[in-house]
C-alpha cells in the first residue's frame, strides 16, 4: 500500500542534513534489581561503549558528548563527562549534561543537532541515563546548616553548642522529590487528575497497559528490539533483555488498586510506568561526514519543538500542544506520518485532548482539533509502561525505536513525542 505524502522530503534548502547513524540502549531494568550496584555513570558508560562497538566508531572520532539525566548523583553531576572518561574516550573531548525532566534525552539530542547544524561539530553522541536504584538522599536543611556551621566553628565549646542544638527532627532525611517544585504535586497525582479531567476511564487505561505489555512482549520475542545491548554486570552475569515486560490478563489488571489517589483514583501500578534503571545513546552526524566515514545513515532528523504549559493542570499535555506545531513547521499532516512513538505518560489524555475541539479552542488557541491519532501506528513495539521509563534515557529510546520501526515497516516519516514536567518535544524523522 503506497500512501501519497503531502511532501516528498522534509529537507530544507540551506539547512544541513543531520542524520542518525545508530541508536542503542542498555536493557531497561526495574530499579533495585540487577543494576542495584551501578552508579548512573556506569550505565551511561555501558550505553556509550555499546554504541561505539556497534558502529565501530573510533574513540577519537567523537567531537562531543551530551547526556540527559533527571535525578543527579551529586558526585557525578556532569555524568556525560564521567561516562566518557570511563569509556576511554580522550579527555580532550568535551561533554556536558542537560536536564529537562522526562525529555532530558530529547534535549540532549536536540542540543547535538544544534551543535552539528551550527557547524561546531560533525560527530556527536547524545543519550540519557537514570538510575533509581540509588538516589541522593540528603540530610535535612537544618542538619546541613548545622554541619556547615560546624565546619567553621573554631573552639570545642562552639562545636558543642552547635551539636547540642541538633534535634531529632533534624535527622529526618530528604528524598529527591518526584513532585513539581512549583505546585508540590507528585506527577502521579497530577496524572490521575488529568485522566479524570479528560474522562479517561479505568478500563481504557487498563486496556492500554495491557496493549503496551502485549506488544512489547511480541516485539521482544520477535527480536525487534535490536537496540538493546548486552551488558555485563559484574557478579551478576550478562543482561540482554528488559525485565519489566509482564503481559498479564485484563482480569488481573482490574484487580489492582489505585496508587496515587486513593481510593477513587484510576491509575494503578499497571497504568503507570515503574521505576526503571537504564541508559541510551544515539550517534548523530552531519550527512557528509557520515557518508565520508562510510556509514549508511538510518534517518534524517528534521524538525523539533519544545512547548510548555501550566505545571499544575496541564503538566503532561505537551504532546497535544507540540504535535500540531511541529507538523505545521514541517508542512505535513497527521496522515503523512507512518510511525508514532509517544512516551506513554498519560498518552490517553493526550489522545483525547487532540481529538477535542473544545480543548483546541479553549486551551490551545487553535481553530479546531488536531485530529485522531491512528492508534494502529502508535508504539507498536511497546512503550514506557511495559519497557520502563528511566527518566533521563527515554527520549533516545523513543527516537531509536521510531527509526528502527520506520526501517522495518518501510515508512517515510516518524513522529516522536514525550511529555515532561514543564516541557515537551517532538521530532520528525
Amino acid at each position: 500500500l503506497v500512501q501519497t505524502k503531502s511532501k516528498k522530503t522534509l529537507a530544507k534548502p540551506g539547512v544541513k542534513n543531520i542524520v542518525l547513524v545508530e541508536g542503542v540502549r542498555t536493557p531497561f531494568l526495574l530499579s533495585g534489581t540487577i543494576y542495584n550496584d551501578f552508579m548512573a555513570h556506569d550505565l551511561a558508560r555501558a550505553a556509550l561503549l555499546g554504541l561505539l562497538n556497534k558502529t565501530s566508531l573510533p574513540k577519537d572520532a567523537v567531537d562531543y558528548i551530551v547526556y540527559g539525566t533527571v535525578i543527579q548523583e551529586v558526585k557525578t553531576s556532569n555524568v556525560a563527562r564521567e561516562a566518557a572518561l570511563g569509556a576511554g574516550i580522550s579527555e580532550k573531548i568535551p561533554a556536558h549534561t542537560v536536564t529537562m525532566a522526562c525529555i532530558s534525552a530529547n534535549q540532549a539530542i536536540t542540543t547535538a543537532v544544534g551543535l552539528i547544524a551550527a557547524g561546531q561539530c560533525d560527530v556527536v553522541v547524545a543519550g540519557g541515563v537514570e538510575t533509581m536504584s540509588d538516589m541522593p538522599i540528603r540530610h535535612s536543611r537544618k542538619m546541613r546548616k548545622t554541619m556547615l556551621t560546624l565546619n567553621k566553628a573554631k573552639t570545642l565549646s562552639q562545636r558543642l553548642t552547635l551539636l547540642s542544638k541538633i534535634r531529632l527532627g533534624y535527622l529526618t532525611p530528604e528524598l529527591p522529590a518526584l513532585t513539581e517544585f512549583s505546585t508540590n504535586e507528585t506527577m502521579g497525582h497530577s496524572a490521575d487528575r488529568l485522566t479524570a479531567a479528560f474522562g479517561v476511564s479505568r478500563r481504557e487505561q487498563d486496556e492500554f497497559a495491557f496493549r503496551s505489555h502485549s506488544l512489547a512482549k511480541k516485539a521482544q520475542d520477535a527480536g525487534l528490539l535490536s537496540d538493546v545491548l548486552s551488558v555485563n554486570v559484574p557478579g551478576k552475569g550478562i543482561v540482554s533483555k528488559d525485565n519489566g515486560i509482564r503481559p498479564s490478563s485484563m482480569e488481573q489488571l482490574e484487580k489492582l488498586k489505585p496508587v496515587f489517589i486513593k481510593p477513587h483514583g484510576t491509575i494503578t501500578p499497571a497504568s503507570s510506568s515503574f521505576l526503571t534503571d537504564g541508559a541510551s545513546a544515539v550517534l548523530l552526524m552531519s550527512e557528509e561526514k557520515a557518508l565520508a566515514m562510510g556509514y549508511k545513515p538510518k534517518a534524517y532528523l528534521r524538525d523539533f519543538v519544545f512547548v510548555s504549559q501550566d505545571p499544575k493542570d496541564q503538566l503532561l499535555l505537551g504532546p497535544s500542544y507540540a504535535t500540531p506545531e511541529v507538523l505545521e513547521k514541517s508542512g505535513i499532516t497527521l496522515d503523512d506520518i507512518d510511525v508514532f512513538e509517544f512516551h506513554e505518560g498519560q498518552i490517553l489524555a493526550n489522545l483525547k485532548a487532540m481529538d477535542s475541539d473544545w480543548f483546541a479552542q479553549t486551551c490551545m488557541g487553535r481553530k479546531s482539533k488536531v485530529g485522531v491519532l491512528p492508534i494502529e501506528k502508535l508504539n507498536l513495539w511497546g512503550g514506557s509502561l511495559s519497557l520502563g521509563h528511566p527518566f533521563g534515557a527515554t527520549g533516545a529510546r523513543l527516537v531509536t525505536a521510531a527509526v528502527n520501526r520506520l526501517k522495518k515497516e518501510g515508512g517515510q516519516y516518524a513522529l516522536v513525542a514525550a511529555c515532561a514536567a514543564g516541557g515537551q518535544v517532538v521530532f520528525d524523522l
Partner: protein, 746 residues
C-alpha cells in the same frame, strides 16, 4: 425553575422523576439518585422556606422509589453547596416562637435525613455553611473537593445566632467536644483538608484542570461521579461508614465519657467566652448551653434547647445589630459608582512605612503590579520585608505555597526613584502627614505620570481639597484612608472632593474591592468621617486621664462597654504624635467644640518621645515578648502636672463610658447631618470596621435607635452643663429625641 427533563446519567438509561417546579433536580445513575440543588432565584443556594419544602418533596419521592438504593446530594451552583439559611426568612419573623418553629422544622427534616433507610452522600464543592453544613452533617457520608472555594463552617455566631438545625447536637458527636466548640464559637471557615482531619468530611476530591470541558464544570461532574461511586460502595459495604479510631481519638472519647471532664470543659470554654465577650454577646453562651443540654440531658432536651435558644437569640438586639452589619458589609462590597473606564494594572505607592507596605501587601497578590517607592534604602528594605513576612506567614499557615509567595513577590518592585511611573495607573501616597510634603510629592508625581493616572492620598486628617489645590488634575485626586494594620483592618474610607470625577471614584472603589476591603465613600472635610468621630472621643479620653481616672480603669470601662481594645491602648496604637497632630488640626477646624483635655499633655509626651506603641512607650510601656503592659510612670507624672479635678456629678463609671461614647456618636450623626456621610449604614460600617465601635451595638446610628435618642440627649445635657458646647447634641440627634418614631433603620 429547573425543568423536569431527562438528565443523562452514566451507565444504565436514566430514570427521571418529573419534578417541574423543583429547585432540586433528580437524575438516577444505575441505582443511585443524584439530587442536584439549584436555587432558581439566586446565585447561591440558601435554605429558604420554598427550598426546604421542595427538598422534603424530593426526598419523599426518592424514599418512595424502591429502585433507588442510595442518594448523592450535590449543588449545581458554581462555588456553592448551600451557603446557609435564608436570613430574610429569619428577619421576617416577629416573635421568638416563630423562629423556634422554623428551627424545629429544620431539625425535623434533618432528622429524617439522618435516619434515612438508604445512605445519602453529600458531595460538597464551594461554601457549605450554616444550615448547609447542618444538612451535610445529617447525611451518612461527606465528600468534598479540595478547591479553595470549598469551606465548611457555622458562621451563625457572627450573626448573634446559633446553628439551629441540629448543629449544636451533631457537631460534638462528630468531631468531639473541643473541636465542636471551636467551630461553633469562632464561626470560622474551615478548608476542606482541615475538615477531613477533623472528621467533618470522609473523603476529598481534587479539583481538575481544563480537559474536554471547563475546569469548574468538570470538577463538579467528577465530584458527582466519585460520590456516586462511594454511594454504591456504601451499599455494597466496600466503603465503611465509620473510620477506625486512632489511639488519641479513643483516649479523647474515653475522657469525654467522664462527666467531670465534660464539666471542666464547659467551665473553661465559658470562662474563655466571658473573657473575650465581657458577656456582651449572648450567642456563644447559648451555644454552650445547647451542647451541654444535649450531652447531659439527652438529645430530645438538646434539640428543644437548641430551637428555643435559636428563637430567643433571633429576637435579641445584638443579633439584629450583627445581621445589620452583615448586610451593610455586603452592600459595602459593591461598587455603586460603576465599572471604571480603566482597570488599575500598575500601582505605585509612595512611602514604604507600615501603611505603604501594608497597602502593597494587600494589592500585589491581586494581579496588580506594584511599585513601592521610598526615599531611603533602610525604609524601603523594611517595607519590602514587611510584605514578604506577610506572605511568608501565609506559607507557614499553608494557605499559599512558597512558590506562590515568590511569584507574588515578583510583582513588587522596590525603588527610590520615579522610574517606571510613566506606566502607572494610580499612585497612592503614604508619606508624612504634612501638607507641604504632600504638595511636593503630588507635583513630582504629576510630572512623571500619564494624564489618566489617579493620585490617591492616604491621609487620616488633612482635607483632600487642600492637598488637591496643588494639582493640575484635581479631578484625578481622591482620598484613600486605610487603617493600620492594613492587612488586618477591613475598612477603607474613600474621600471625594467636589472636583473628584466619578470615574476616579469608581476606580478607587474597584481597587479597594480587589484588595478585599469593605468600603465607605464619604465627602471631604477635616477628619472626614472616621477621624472626626475618633477625635472628640480621644479629646475626652485625655480629659478623663487628667481628671485622674487610671489608664487601666479607663481601658476596663471601655472594653466592658464593648470596644475591642481599651481606649488608652487605642491611643497608644494610633500614636500619641498622630493623636496630637489630628487633635490640633481638628480643633483648628471645628473650634472649641472638639476640645477636651489639654493638648499640652500630649505635646509634652511627644517631646519626651512617648509616641505610643511604635516607640515602646506611651501611656503604657511596651516590651517585646512580654504581654503584660505596665503604666509608664513618666507619662503619669505628666498627667499629674496637668491634673484637673473631677466633677463628681459626671464622673461615675457609667458617666465615664457615656462621656466617651456620646461624643463619638454625636459627631457621627453630625457627619450625616452635614452630608459627609451619605447614609447611616456606611456610618455604622465605618465605625465598627475602622474604629472598633462595639459590633453588638451595630454602630453609632443603630445604637441611637436602640438606646433611644431622647435618653442619650438627656445624658448629654447633664455633661453639657459641666463642660459646655462639647456635649451639645447635634440637630439630627435632637430631632430624633423629640420624635421617637424617627429611626435610622426601619
Amino acid at each position: 425553575y429547573a425543568s423536569g427533563t431527562l438528565q443523562p446519567g452514566v451507565g444504565i438509561e436514566p430514570v427521571t422523576f418529573l419534578n417541574p417546579k423543583a429547585a432540586a433536580l433528580i437524575a438516577v445513575k444505575d441505582d443511585v439518585a443524584v439530587i442536584r440543588i439549584n436555587n432558581p432565584d439566586s446565585k447561591v443556594n440558601t435554605l429558604s422556606i420554598p427550598m426546604q419544602r421542595e427538598m422534603a418533596e424530593v426526598m419523599n419521592e426518592v424514599w418512595a422509589n424502591g429502585a433507588v438504593k442510595s442518594v448523592v446530594l450535590i449543588s449545581s451552583k458554581p462555588g456553592c453547596f448551600i451557603a446557609g439559611a435564608d436570613i430574610n426568612m429569619i428577619q421576617a419573623c416577629r416573635s421568638a416562637e416563630e423562629v423556634t418553629a422554623l428551627s424545629q422544622e429544620g431539625q425535623k427534616m434533618f432528622e429524617k435525613i439522618e435516619k434515612s433507610p438508604i445512605p445519602i452522600v453529600a458531595a460538597i464543592n464551594g461554601s457549605c455553611l450554616g444550615g448547609g453544613l447542618e444538612f451535610a452533617l445529617a447525611c451518612q457520608y461527606r465528600v468534598a473537593t479540595k478547591s479553595r472555594k470549598t469551606v465548611l463552617g457555622t458562621p451563625e455566631v457572627m450573626l448573634g445566632l446559633l446553628p439551629g438545625a441540629g448543629g449544636t447536637q451533631r457537631l460534638p458527636k462528630m468531631v468531639g467536644l473541643p473541636s465542636a466548640f471551636d467551630v461553633m464559637l469562632t464561626g470560622r471557615n474551615i478548608r476542606a483538608d482541615k475538615a477531613k482531619k477533623m472528621g467533618l468530611v470522609h473523603q476529598l476530591v481534587d479539583p481538575l484542570g481544563p480537559g474536554l470541558k471547563d475546569s469548574d464544570v468538570r470538577t463538579v461532574e467528577y465530584l458527582e461521579e466519585v460520590a456516586v461511586g462511594f454511594a454504591k460502595g456504601i451499599v455494597n459495604k466496600s466503603i465503611p461508614l465509620t473510620k477506625r479510631k486512632g489511639i488519641m481519638q479513643k483516649l479523647q472519647d474515653y475522657a469525654m465519657g467522664i462527666p467531670f471532664v465534660r464539666q471542666q470543659i464547659y467551665k473553661t470554654v465559658t470562662k474563655r467566652v466571658m473573657n473575650q465577650t465581657k458577656g456582651l454577646y449572648p450567642a456563644p453562651l447559648k451555644i454552650i448551653e445547647c451542647v451541654k443540654a444535649g450531652l447531659e440531658k439527652g438529645s430530645e432536651a438538646g434539640y428543644l434547647e437548641e430551637s428555643q435558644n435559636f428563637g430567643k437569640l433571633a429576637m435579641t438586639p445584638e443579633s439584629k445589630a450583627l445581621v445589620g452589619l452583615y448586610q451593610g458589609q455586603v452592600a459595602c462590597k459593591k461598587n455603586r459608582f460603576g465599572t471604571p473606564e480603566r482597570e488599575v494594572k500598575n500601582l505605585a505607592i509612595l512611602g514604604a512605612g507600615l501603611m505603604g507596605a501594608g497597602i502593597a501587601q494587600v494589592t500585589v497578590d491581586k494581579g496588580v503590579n506594584v511599585i513601592l517607592k521610598d526615599t531611603a534604602t533602610e525604609g524601603l528594605s523594611r517595607g519590602q520585608d514587611q510584605v514578604y513576612k506577610g506572605f511568608n506567614a501565609k506559607v507557614k499557615k499553608k494557605s499559599i505555597t512558597s512558590f506562590e509567595r515568590d511569584t507574588t513577590m515578583s510583582c513588587l518592585t522596590g525603588q527610590l526613584d520615579y522610574s517606571g511611573f510613566e506606566r502607572v495607573d494610580m499612585v497612592i501616597e503614604a508619606v508624612f502627614e504634612d501638607l507641604s510634603i504632600k504638595h511636593k510629592v503630588l507635583k513630582e508625581v504629576e510630572a512623571v505620570t500619564p494624564p489618566h493616572c489617579i493620585f490617591a492620598t492616604n491621609t487620616s486628617g488633612l482635607p483632600i481639597k487642600d492637598i488637591a489645590a496643588a494639582s493640575k488634575r484635581p479631578e484625578n485626586v481622591i482620598g484613600m484612608h486605610y487603617f493600620s494594620p492594613v492587612d488586618k483592618m477591613q475598612l477603607l474610607e474613600i474621600i471625594t472632593t467636589d472636583k473628584t470625577s466619578k470615574d476616579t471614584t469608581a476606580s478607587a472603589v474597584a481597587l479597594g474591592l480587589k484588595q478585599g476591603k469593605i468600603i465607605i465613600v464619604v465627602k471631604d472635610g477635616p477628619g472626614f468621617y472616621t477621624t472626626r468621630c475618633l477625635s472628640p472621643m480621644l479629646a475626652e479620653l485625655l480629659r478623663l486621664l487628667q481628671e485622674g481616672v487610671e489608664p487601666k480603669k479607663l481601658d476596663l470601662l471601655t472594653t466592658s462597654f464593648g470596644l475591642p481594645v481599651g481606649a488608652v491602648i487605642l491611643a497608644d496604637e494610633v500614636g500619641i504624635d498622630v493623636a496630637a497632630h489630628v487633635g490640633k488640626t481638628m480643633t483648628k477646624a471645628f473650634g472649641s467644640r472638639l476640645d477636651g483635655g489639654n493638648i499640652e499633655v500630649v505635646t509634652t509626651m511627644v517631646e519626651k518621645g512617648f509616641t505610643g506603641r511604635k516607640a515602646g512607650k506611651g501611656f503604657y510601656i511596651y516590651e517585646k515578648g512580654s504581654k503584660s503592659r505596665n503604666i509608664n510612670p513618666a507619662a503619669e507624672e505628666i498627667l499629674k502636672k496637668f491634673k484637673l479635678s473631677a466633677p463628681p456629678s459626671v464622673s461615675s463609671d457609667s458617666d465615664v463610658q457615656y462621656r466617651l461614647v456620646s461624643r463619638f456618636v454625636n459627631e457621627a450623626l453630625l457627619c450625616l447631618q452635614e452630608g459627609i456621610l451619605s447614609n447611616p449604614m456606611e456610618g455604622d460600617i465605618g465605625a465598627v470596621f475602622g474604629l472598633g465601635f462595639p459590633p453588638f451595638l451595630g454602630g453609632p446610628f443603630r445604637f441611637v435607635d436602640a438606646f433611644g435618642a431622647d435618653k442619650l440627649v438627656q445624658k448629654m445635657k447633664k455633661y453639657e452643663e459641666v463642660y459646655g458646647n462639647q456635649f451639645t447634641a447635634c440637630q439630627l440627634l435632637q430631632d430624633h429625641a423629640k420624635d421617637s418614631s424617627k429611626k435610622f433603620y426601619k
